[in-house]
Every structure is written in C-alpha cells, then in structure tokens.
Symmetry: C2
Amino acid sequence: MDLKITLLGGDGIGPEVLAQSVKCLQAVEETFNHHFTYTEGLIGAVAMDKYGSPLPEETINLCKESDAILFGTIGTLKYDDNPSARVRPEQGLLQLRRELELFTNIRPVRIFPTLVAKSPLKKHVIFGTDFVIYRELTGGIYFGEKQWSEDGTYASDLCEYSEKEISRIAHLAFKAAKSRKKKLTLVDKANVLETSRLWRKVVTRIAESYPEVKLDFLFVDNAAMQMMLNPNQFDVILTENMFGDILSDQGSAICGSKGLLPSASIGAEHAMFEPFHGSYPQATGKDIANPVASILSTAMMLSHFGMHEESRAVVIAVHKSMRKNVVTKDLNANSRYGTSEVGAFIADNI
Amino acid sequence: MDLKITLLGGDGIGPEVLAQSVKCLQAVEETFNHHFTYTEGLIGAVAMDKYGSPLPEETINLCKESDAILFGTIGTLKYDDNPSARVRPEQGLLQLRRELELFTNIRPVRIFPTLVAKSPLKKHVIFGTDFVIYRELTGGIYFGEKQWSEDGTYASDLCEYSEKEISRIAHLAFKAAKSRKKKLTLVDKANVLETSRLWRKVVTRIAESYPEVKLDFLFVDNAAMQMMLNPNQFDVILTENMFGDILSDQGSAICGSKGLLPSASIGAEHAMFEPFHGSYPQATGKDIANPVASILSTAMMLSHFGMHEESRAVVIAVHKSMRKNVVTKDLNANSRYGTSEVGAFIADNI
Ligand SMILES: CC(C)[C@H](C(=O)O)[C@@H](O)C(=O)O
Ligand SMILES: CC(C)[C@H](C(=O)O)[C@@H](O)C(=O)O
C-alpha cells in the first residue's frame, strides 16, 4: 500500500517520540512491503516562532494533500504562562481539527498487564478495564460563538450541536461497539442541558439500526464517579467535546502513565494520529520521553487503513518491549534505555 | 441561639436520612441550650405528584422565611426514565438554588481513617487527602439561554459569567484557603473558553488581597487526572458550575462511599445543607440508607452559624459511630444497624 504521511512533530518531546514512530513505520514498510512517504510540517509554538501563526497555511495544505497525519505534541512553557493570550499553540491544533473536519476523537483506555502496579486504582477495581472513548471533536462549546462585554466584566461561550454533528460520530461509535463488547454508554447532562437532550434523542434513534448494541446513559457527573469506582463496566463511551476532554484525561490516569495511550482523530476525508500525552517541555531533548503512545498511534493508523496484521505486529512488539523491560524511566526508574533505544527495539521486533 | 430551619426531605431516602439529622439537632439543642424550630416543605417528585410542580410557591416562601434549609435528596425512578421531560424533580432543586441565590456550593472531600479500605484508590495515593471544592452554583451553562431550532435538529446552551458572579464566590474560597492549607487551585479551561479567561482575570486580581494564599491554575482535563493520580495535592479547588459538578462527584468517589459526604450551598441571605448523595430509590423505606452524609451536613450548618463547638460534637459522635462499627450495611456488610439506629447512636453521643 502507498500512503502519504504528514509528520507534525510540534513542540516539546513531540519530534523525539514521532521519530520513533517513523522508525516503526519503516520497519512495517520493509516487512510487509508497503511504501510510505513522509513530509514534515510545522505547528504549534515552533510555527509561532517562525511564522507568527500556530498553524501556517502551508501546514494546512500539506495535511490536506496527505492520507494521514502523525502528530507529536503541542505547547511550551513559554506560552503556558499566559493562557489568556489570543494566539496560543493550542489554537493551531483546534484549527487543524476544524479545517480537516476531524469530528471523532478515539481514545482507547486499556491496562497493560505488566503495568497494573502503576495505576492509582486498586487492582480489583481496574481488573479487566478495556474501553474506548468516542469524543466529538469539532463542535460544542469549543467552537460556538464567544463574546465579551465591552467593559470586560462579562464573557460567554456558546455550546451548540446539530443532529448531523451527532449522528456522524454516533454511527462510528455504534460500529465500534458492535465489533467489541456491544455496549454503548452515552454520557451527557440531559437533566440540565438542551444540547444533551438533542444527543439523547439522536442517539436513541440511531440505536434502532444497531439492535446488537445495548445503549445506556449516564450523566457526566456520575460517569466521572463510575470511572473511578468501576471502570471495567464500560465498553464504548460516546460523548460531546468538553465532557470527552475531561473524561478521557481522567481515563488516561487509570493507566498510571499517560506515556502509553494513543489516540486517533477521524474525519470523512482525513485522519490524524497522536499520543494522548502533552508536550512535557521539561523532558525535551533529554532522550527520556516514552515513545510508546506515539508508536501505538501508528498502530491505530495502520488499522484505520485496513492494515490489521501490520497494526498487530506493532502492538506485539510494544508488548515485547514491556515484557523484556526495554522501557523508559517513567515505567522503570532503574532503566538504562532512552527514547531512541526503546523505539529501535520496538522497530527491530516488527 | 434561635434558628428557624426548613426541612425539605424530597424524594427517595431523603426524608429518612433527614429524620436522623433532626435527632442530632435536637441533641444539640438540649446539650448546648439552643432553640431550633423545624418546618417541613415539599420539593421534587413528591411535590410534582401533589402540586404538579417540583417547587411549589409555598416551599419557596417557607425557605425564604427561615434561617437555614436542610435538604434531603431529589429524584425518583419514575422520572428518571425520561430525562427529556420539561418538568423534572431536579428542576425544583435548580430553581431553589436560583431563587435563594445560593451561589456557592461547598463540598469537602476527606478520607475517614477507618474507611481507607473502601476507596478505589490505593492507600499511598489517597493518604492525607483533605480538600474542599468551591463550586459556583447559580451561573454558567446551567442557567444561560437555551435554544432549539424549530425543526428540532439543533440545540444550544449558553455558558455565561459576570465578574460579580465570580468575585463573590472567589472571596469565600480565598477565605477558606486562608484558614486551611493556604492553597487555592482555580480549575478552568482557559486555553479554550472565554468564560474561563474571565475567571482567571478576576481570580488573579482578587488573589492580591490574600497574599498568604498560594494561587495556582489547572485545566479541567488535567484536574480530573490529578484528582485520580494525586488527590492530596489539593486544598481548596475553586471552579465554575459544570466543572464543579463533575469534579465534586469524581472527588466523592475517592471516599469509596457517597453516603458520607456533606455539602453546603451558601448565598448572601440563605444557606442550605444537604448530603452529596442521590435519592437512592431502591433503598427507600428499607431503613438501610446511611444517614452520615445528612448528619455531617447539619455539622456544616452549625459551623455556618458560628456554633463551632456544637459542630465538632456532631463530627466527633460520627467518628465514634465508625470506630464502634455502629454503621449501616454499605460500610459493613455484616452490620445489623439500620438508618434509624445509627442516627440514634450518633444523637446519643452528642
Ligand atoms: C490542548 C487542548 C486544546 C486539547 C483539548 O482540550 O481538546 C487537549 O486537552 C486535548 O484533549 O487534545
Ligand atoms: C440533580 C442535578 C441537577 C445536580 C447538578 O447537576 O447540579 C446534581 O448533580 C448536583 O450536583 O447537585
């Protein structure tokens, strides 16, 4: 298979971990006889420093012309001090999601058997946890109209949803549930929000087309509680943008380390794959960042393009690195392996 | 001291647990020579069944004329099946918060030493956890304008805040931090929301008047993660209505049982005290509900009116019930004590 891949390393540890993903993809090309081309683009603080914009036109075009985007991480300490600045690195990411219409963010949460001890939750609580969050990514309060009063004493953000925005992600989530444990939980706040009521209405109707899937509902406050008390009750969680942001970060904490979780952002025409974790500026350039989340994101990319065997090969190599304790220091304080060695080990085992 | 107290038992186990609180308050009256009067009012599903409204005019007036309100719980299975119904029991609670301008919801999260085993989190993770959430309760997306398109394919909820709404709760939160561990964490999403930027601006300015208190900021997604990874880093968390709803329920899960946590809702002229937990319809009338959350809410009420010694006496009696294992079945499956016996034991020990 031929694939055009855009690499957006971004800020912080992004470029370092992404380089390990490329190693793995090159191993996949060789082993399975594919042909991937890689082009690099700028986004985030690096783009701001060079072009004054966190998402230069050039980068958008590059992404639009490619089959898939591998994304690193975004944000630097320099801009973190001032969350109120109009132009922030994150704006680049939000704008890219919107430009490419990446309306579905998929975040699997699964416990690595070797890492149960890392979880803040007790073993019997997390046992068997394996769920995936489908988060709406281009609507809701993130992108609704924003206002300030002239005197600066009042501000507002509009949360809005249309049936179309809900139904396209709902179909993807139901399909995922069908191929998994056949349970879909819609998380909303339908006892307070009208947008949540619209979600319930649309999702309840769509459920009729997926009779194999059991649909249930949880208010978001209860969901946050259940995710702590009993995370293994979940299979597919479907939710709107803001709730998905909160719950997926909470979900990632279940695993103890954010350095392990991949994510995919899918649209009708484009797809982007990125680690769950942030840019970890303190670790930049030190060869200590965990490349596994980024590498597992490439596995999600391979699956997305139907290369399931290839995807499995990557996942198996990652598991091997854990079993053999070829891991970065975040997982084993005594480890002598750096980012690049772990990446090479995984690539060599594909 | 003379106090006029309105009792709103509400639905489900509300009236049963509230009855135990009254026992305790009567013990306080006797022991400390106070005089409290109690009047009952209707709210929630019981009020809907009787008056067709979850918050009858009568109840509002009763509350306005009293010094404090003790609230039970709200919601029944009957109405839970239909979250989209226009008139729901919860509407009564939301309207009451608004009518009485109860703009600050205070939810302490503290681990009972005897109950560490109940927490889903590992012992070393929760060790020392003792924080309090100050949640804004009468603004934000809960009360902003709501819209539907005529064809029912679009809905919106407006999230809005004014400087005044933020500053009044911020002052209360800073004062609390000053008398505690001197740390205040503002939780927001200032990298995306304009309302969050207003919160940061206002809170940062108010911080100047409280130089003893260290102010820091967390994005809400990170806060949900930190609450799982390292809850004992928090002292006072200040946040807007929707984020507070989610985080306080997540926080309650830290304790393993929701049956233990009290809350207070404070306004300039009125104050209401209620357990954290829901109406637990399945347990109604069975004398198995845990009355501790409701009883500890009365302790918050006593403190609120300056009766600190009285409040401590209630808390000490609760601790004694735990130490002596005079608890309901949710805390000890072999317990033979019911709601009413636990309430009586605590009252007798005041
Ligand atoms: C950086 C930020 C704008 C972003 C979001 O809130 O969507 C991040 O938290 C995420 O979840 O990808
Ligand atoms: C019942 C519901 C409307 C309410 C809220 O969301 O505020 C509840 O969850 C709470 O936290 O008191």
